[in-house]
Symmetry: C2
Subunit: 407 residues, 2 copies
């Protein structure tokens, strides 16, 4: 497996484009297109929120229908959530406009939106954007990057990555782009991720590999515990690598899964580290667990704790808050067996042994916690299972973005 | 039912005292005593956190043993949590010191601690404090207030209340004090509440009335979603009102339950409104639910949402975040049936009807949300059940208290 340049256009046959359609933002791009020369098998995972945005409903029906997809149209600025029948109608119109401009089947056109809730899309502007992107699309890495930039909301940097693996004598590439917690009044953060691959892979294997991997990647990150109405991960495979078909549970499947995991983990970590107001990526590893589930519950509880997140913001080795967050997680464990360490580029330091503080240097701990990427490792000494969760610190910046936005 | 003056000393036969023992704070009181002339039946409810502080373990065994209690010794500054055998030993020593100083049975002495985690209590200072309080205790309302002040950590005001009801021809009084989310490095918020009553009431009725009421009061508040290792509510009944014994599920029981509810709700709301950094009490009512459980899950999800809490801090009628928080709560409902209003002293305004924004005045909404007590009312139009939760806004003050504490 090698990391290669680019994002959604890295895999064979994929093109991208962006446009400044003026949907809500001015002076920047706010639409992105992913186009495949050949129709793609498509897998998707969507928000579990009861309140689902129109694009989520639309994409789910496309993915479940099994129809092949050749284009994804994404906009930032307006989320098309809580917009009723009218909003769902705009998904249909978007697909129809893409059919007209790109010569693809409308039933297979996927859409994605992020931004303000409760506002209707200015559909004519969207249609203009689609026409513009149909003209400008190409397979360059620059166009892939421009698409990754166009979907940003309050993200402070764009997020993309690509990797290649060998499947038999063929090179298979997986590339992706994502956007994280952006907040635009009156709205919430939304996580969108779009992955493209030229692999030949069965429909079943494609959905399985995505559904299984998100449990260890996107579902293990938290910025503020608020699950958006729009969260979507889409995986498109156009088969242009011409490898022997990858089937579920084969050796080649495992290889593909590993590569997809690298892409998803990279994007998920970038989303976590770029959380609103974040100054640090906060990684939490729980090791020595009896079950994976127990490890996950504990890791997520720590990474979601406001008190722990503010301690990280303050570079404070506040182990009491971490033990506390483990304690209310709902998972069982023996607090008097817990070992806890902090680690970063500045070193590693043990803070707790068997549930009690060891005689550690606060100065060294603060130095370790002052890095832009910090990790807490909790060993509960019960078994061999482990899990990792990612989040960020909770800072004044988060309050600025989310409370003071209008004042 | 009438609200009367005072707190824990309002009921007959209860005395209180405070002392500045120098446990961790300097220049303020940090110990409180509640003493009853006659031994009390006692009920208690405790944190569900797996990590339980020593006083929680101690009190639970006292309450479960059925032994009568005549004194509660509380300290602020150090939580006596994650302190192992040594910490539990200090509960025992505290009880023994109280026996010696007050002439009460050590097995019935209750203890409470709040403050730093992982630090051992300076037991000699505690013993000095107990002796001092044994000398100074009296039944005055002032001493009750001084006890309520001594248990504060980062609370910005003390919290106490008392009510009286008639049971037959006797006056029964219930008084209480509580402390809320105080954060002292390296620690977490802790909720402690101590209720005294002179009622004659059966052991079973006493525990039932407390256990049932906390579900609608203390368990419906949230400051930051972090459940402490020390959370404790104790209810002591000394029987000195000489009323006919109150038994479970009788008419008199309901009357007593109503009075206790007023006390608990008052204290719970004060704790929520005095959350760290809070500038507003945020009340959430979910009405029109099919079940009480559904209403509670929805109300708590809204009140715990960081995005909603920052919106309240910004006086922002951000209904998208509220619908979103309802959506990920885990409770089922139809988003397209939801009506939502905001209400405060400045008026009431409807924001959503059937899941869609109505044409409301943002200016009026901001005016309503700029009050120190604001409410959101969500009607899900399914049935007749309802629930109320209380929290506070999430502000720069919370970050200041919890992140910048040491810098």
């Amino acid at each position: 497996m090698v990391i290669v340049k680019g994002g959604v256009t890295a895999a064979k046959g994929f093109e991208a484009a962006s446009a400044g359609a003026g949907i809500k933002y001015q002076g920047r791009t706010d639409m992105a297109l992913i186009y495949s020369k050949k129709p793609c098998r498509t897998a998707g995972t969507f928000t579990t929120n009861v309140v689902k945005a129109a694009p989520v409903k639309w994409d789910r029906s496309v993915v479940e229908s099994g129809v092949k997809s050749q284009a994804v149209i994404i906009n930032s600025g307006i989320a098309n959530a809580c917009t009723g029948e009218e909003g769902y109608g705009y998904c249909k119109e978007t697909a129809a406009a893409a059919e007209k401009a790109l010569g693809v089947e409308a039933e297979g056109v996927l859409v994605g939106s992020t931004g303000v809730i409760g506002m209707q899309l200015p559909i004519d502007k969207l249609k203009n954007g689609i026409r513009e992107m149909a003209e400008n699309k190409n397979a360059s890495l620059e166009n892939g990057t421009s698409a990754a930039k166009a979907i940003m909301t309050t993200d402070t940097f764009h997020k993309e990555i690509a990797v290649s693996i060998q499947v038999g004598d063929k090179t298979v590439t997986i590339g992706g782009m994502a956007k994280g917690s952006g907040m635009i009044h009156p709205n919430m953060c939304t996580m969108l991720s779009f992955i493209t691959t030229d692999a030949v892979i069965s429909k079943k294997a494609l959905q399985k590999v995505l559904s299984e991997d998100i449990e260890d990647t996107y579902n293990m990150i938290s910025v503020d515990g608020d699950t958006s109405t729009n969260d979507t991960v889409l995986l498109l495979a156009n088969g242009m690598a011409e490898n022997e078909k990858i089937k579920y549970k084969t050796k080649e499947y495992e290889k593909f899964a590993e590569a997809l995991h690298l892409v998803n983990e990279y994007l998920a970590k970038k989303i976590a580290g770029d959380g609103e107001g974040a100054t640090a990526l906060f990684e939490v590893k729980v090791i020595g667990a009896s079950t994976k589930r127990q490890a996950k519950i504990l890791a997520k509880s720590i990474v979601c704790s406001n008190l722990t997140k503010t301690a990280i913001a303050g570079h404070d080795a506040n182990w009491g808050r971490i033990l506390c967050a483990m304690g209310y997680s709902g998972a069982q464990f023996d607090p008097e067996k817990v070992d806890l360490s902090f680690e970063s580029k500045a070193g590693k330091i043990q803070i707790i042994e068997n549930g009690r503080a060891v005689n550690y240097s606060e100065e060294k701990a603060t130095e370790i916690l002052s890095q832009p990427e910090v990790a807490a490792i909790a060993d509960i000494k019960e078994g061999t299972e482990s899990a990792t969760a990612w989040g960020c610190d909770l800072t004044h910046g988060y309050i600025d973005i989310n409370a003071d936005y209008r004042s």
